[in-house]
């Protein structure tokens, strides 16, 4: 299995920022020069040992990396199949994988002399991570968040404000993540000279999908080394949840050229992937289109109008997906599946009960698939699931879903 006659699944994107037909630079002319500048700066930084030395120092001393690779014994026993490991990215500073990428982008922004950072956020995890790093470096931070999400995610809104960020509720459209991204792009078009747009996932115009992937790949690189250490060989199966897909791409990318490693991405199936379109499973329930600077699988109607999508997890509630995932889907290198809100809720409670880990609702989706997959696999199978965020932010949503008030 190789990609387009190349010998690697890891060589994308091409010079046009494409992964096969996906990706690209579908932005207005005003933004084009900014994106080209960013690409040039990132290309320089990528080959600059001092850039990575600074990243390594911050990862170790500010974020708390490497995150552990933890064998989950009681969960493994309960599922009765593959040995289940969690990559513990929920133990990072700010409680999720998001900060891996934010640090990289903020260091780039500093190299470029940008003084004002903007970001979009859905559940608020990327917004909190961005506000955190901006506070650390004394940068102005403006976070765009759908008005609906501002209401749903009050604790994170307060966190961002404590950290000195300005949170702008976005009322255009339906007031969710995609509208927040639209509004961030509108801000960027308006404030071209001093502003850096810190995108939270492996989507957007080139070079964002590749750049965010590179920053998040620390997850997979660590997993590789840790598993070799623990078991003397590579894992057999990787599982991660996917909204835009940054935690998944971070785990998957270092393993794409190891054909013996089975890789599974789990999308949010909401109320079920069917014609009601009450889900956020772009790959299993969408088709290719162009939005937010890239071509990728999108939830859309017959006329090419973008649909809202639904998930119990505000972090997965996005009608698109990173373009590299679209390509890996079409190439067949990664399997993409979906689980429903209810399955994620069940898995959420299972993790609490068996491992004493309250997961975010996002990785609870990955875990829900693990509960289906692990029992079908032999007991010497090594399975790694990315526990990409902790669930403190979700306890209100979960309580409501369980019919409890807190």
């Amino acid at each position: 299995m190789t990609a387009d006659g190349l010998n690697s699944f890891r060589s994308g994107p091409d010079e046009q920022g494409r992964f096969g037909i996906f990706g690209g630079r579908f932005v207005s002319e005003t933004l084009m020069p900014l994106i080209l500048d960013l690409e040039a700066e990132y290309t320089k930084a990528k080959d600059d040992p001092s850039f990575w030395a600074e990243m390594d120092d911050l990862w170790a001393n500010y974020v708390g990396r490497p995150s552990p690779l933890y064998f989950a014994p009681r969960l493994t026993e309960e599922l009765g199949g593959a040995k289940v490991y969690f990559k513990r990215d929920e133990l990072n500073h700010t409680g999720a994988h998001k900060i891996n990428n934010v640090l990289g982008q903020i260091l780039l922004a500093r190299r470029m002399g940008k003084t004002r950072i903007i970001a979009e956020t859905g559940a608020g995890q990327h917004g909190v991570a961005t506000a955190t790093v901006c506070a650390k470096f004394g940068l102005q931070c403006v976070v765009f968040m759908g008005a609906t999400d501002v209401e749903r995610q009050k604790p994170n809104v307060f966190r961002m404000r404590l950290l000195g960020a300005q949170v702008v509720p976005v009322t255009s459209g339906r007031g969710t993540l995609k509208d927040a991204m639209n509004e961030a792009l509108r801000d960027w078009v308006t404030n071209v000279s001093d502003t850096f747009y810190c995108i939270g996932t492996v989507a957007g115009p080139h070079p964002y999908p590749a750049m965010v992937r590179d920053f998040q790949s620390i997850i997979g690189k660590e997993t590789r080394a840790q598993m070799l250490d623990a078991e003397g060989r590579l894992p057999d199966v990787l599982v991660a949840c996917i909204g835009g897909g940054s935690n998944a791409m971070g785990l998957f990318h270092p393993f794409l050229d190891d054909p013996e490693v089975r890789i599974v991405g789990v999308e949010a199936g909401g109320h079920g992937v069917d014609e009601r379109m009450e889900h956020a499973a772009s790959l299993t329930g969408g088709r290719p289109g162009v939005l937010h600077g890239n071509r990728t699988y999108l939830l859309q109607d017959e006329d090419g109008q973008i649909l809202e999508g639904h998930s119990i997890s505000a972090g997965l509630d996005y009608p698109g997906i990173g373009p590299e995932h679209s390509w890996l889907h079409d190439m067949g290198r990664v399997e993409y599946v979906s689980v429903t809100d209810q399955e994620a809720l069940d898995a959420f409670q299972l993790s609490c009960r068996t491992e004493g880990i309250i997961p975010a609702l996002e990785p609870a989706h990955a875990l829900a698939h693990v509960t289906k997959l692990a029992p079908t696999l032999p007991s010497d199978t090594l399975l790694v699931m990315n526990m990409c965020g902790r669930g403190d932010k979700d306890i209100f949503t979960v309580a409501e879903a369980l019919g409890t008030s807190i």
């Binding site: 046009q16 207005s28 002319e29 005003t30 639209n182 509108r186 078009v189 071209v192 090419g304």
Partner: protein, 265 residues
């Protein structure tokens, strides 16, 4: 030669700037929208820009965003937008029509199908905001091969290094976005716009029209003195949003067109 080329040649001979109006197709509904579109030429409009509604208009301010939402809620689609052009062509075969919007609805229909339909409906040109020169193979080159103009936006961030690339596959006219920002934003000073228009004209024989942030007849007149055309969108759409009847909207359009045309009087 498209209707756009013929229209600008005529205006040049007459020594007048073009007045270009933008309205969203299907705003507030198909019938009202068609009545307005049919009246634009009579109000002095030289080039009609017809907005394609899209759920996620990333380069537009609240006025155009809401216009798109109204149109979509009233059931507007890309096919029905082409029907509006067809209906206009029954009574007006001269006034150029440019469709302006975002790529996804076109991509969703299929580029080949769209170009054939647009051509037969009587569309003359396209402005697709999220297709920069880097993506020319998507639609720009096929559109020009099909005989449609592909009108590119040049912006204050389009520097001397980048300008040739922006102009290379542009046809019909160049649309100079006078501010860094979204549609309906603050006005750019005419004193700043003049040199920019001159800078672009030094590199292309194409007419240069100026838009974004032009809201009043007075400003239309000022821009008309320094550019080959004046584009007004949000200010007209605001009248439609306020519930003005088509006759009132067209009277406002006429006041803008008259001011722009009188600019070099």
């Amino acid at each position: 030669m498209t209707r756009i080329d013929r229209r600008f040649a005529k205006l040049k001979a007459e020594g007048r700037p073009a007045f270009v109006s933008y309205v969203m197709a299907g705003d507030p509904d198909l019938e009202t929208s068609l009545e307005i579109v049919k009246g634009l030429a009579g109000a002095g409009v030289d080039v009609i820009e017809l907005g394609l509604p899209f759920t996620d208009p990333m380069a537009d301010g609240p006025t155009i965003q809401l216009a798109g939402q109204r149109a979509l809620e009233a059931g507007m689609t890309l096919r029905k937008t082409l029907d509006v052009v067809r209906a206009l062509r029954e009574s007006d075969d001269d006034t150029p029509v440019v469709l302006m919007g975002y790529y996804n609805p076109i991509y969703s229909m299929g580029v080949e199908t769209f170009l054939a339909e647009a051509q037969s409906a009587g569309v003359d040109g396209l402005i697709v905001v999220d297709l920069p020169p880097e993506e020319d193979e998507e639609l720009c080159l096929p559109a020009q091969a099909a005989g449609l103009n592909f009108i590119r936006l040049a912006t204050p961030t389009t520097d001397a290094r980048r300008l040739p690339k922006v102009l290379s596959n542009t046809s019909g006219f160049v649309y100079y976005v006078s501010i860094t920002g979204i549609t309906g934003a603050a006005e750019a000073a005419a004193s700043a716009v003049g040199p920019e228009v001159a800078r672009i004209k030094a590199s292309t024989p194409l007419p240069v029209c100026v838009g974004f942030g032009i809201k009043t007849p007075a400003r239309a007149a000022e821009i008309g003195q320094v550019a080959d055309g004046v584009v007004v969108g949000s200010a007209i759409v605001e009248r439609i949003a306020a519930g003005d009847a088509p006759a009132q909207v067209l009277a406002f359009v006429k006041s803008l067109a008259d001011a722009a045309h009188a600019a070099r009087g």
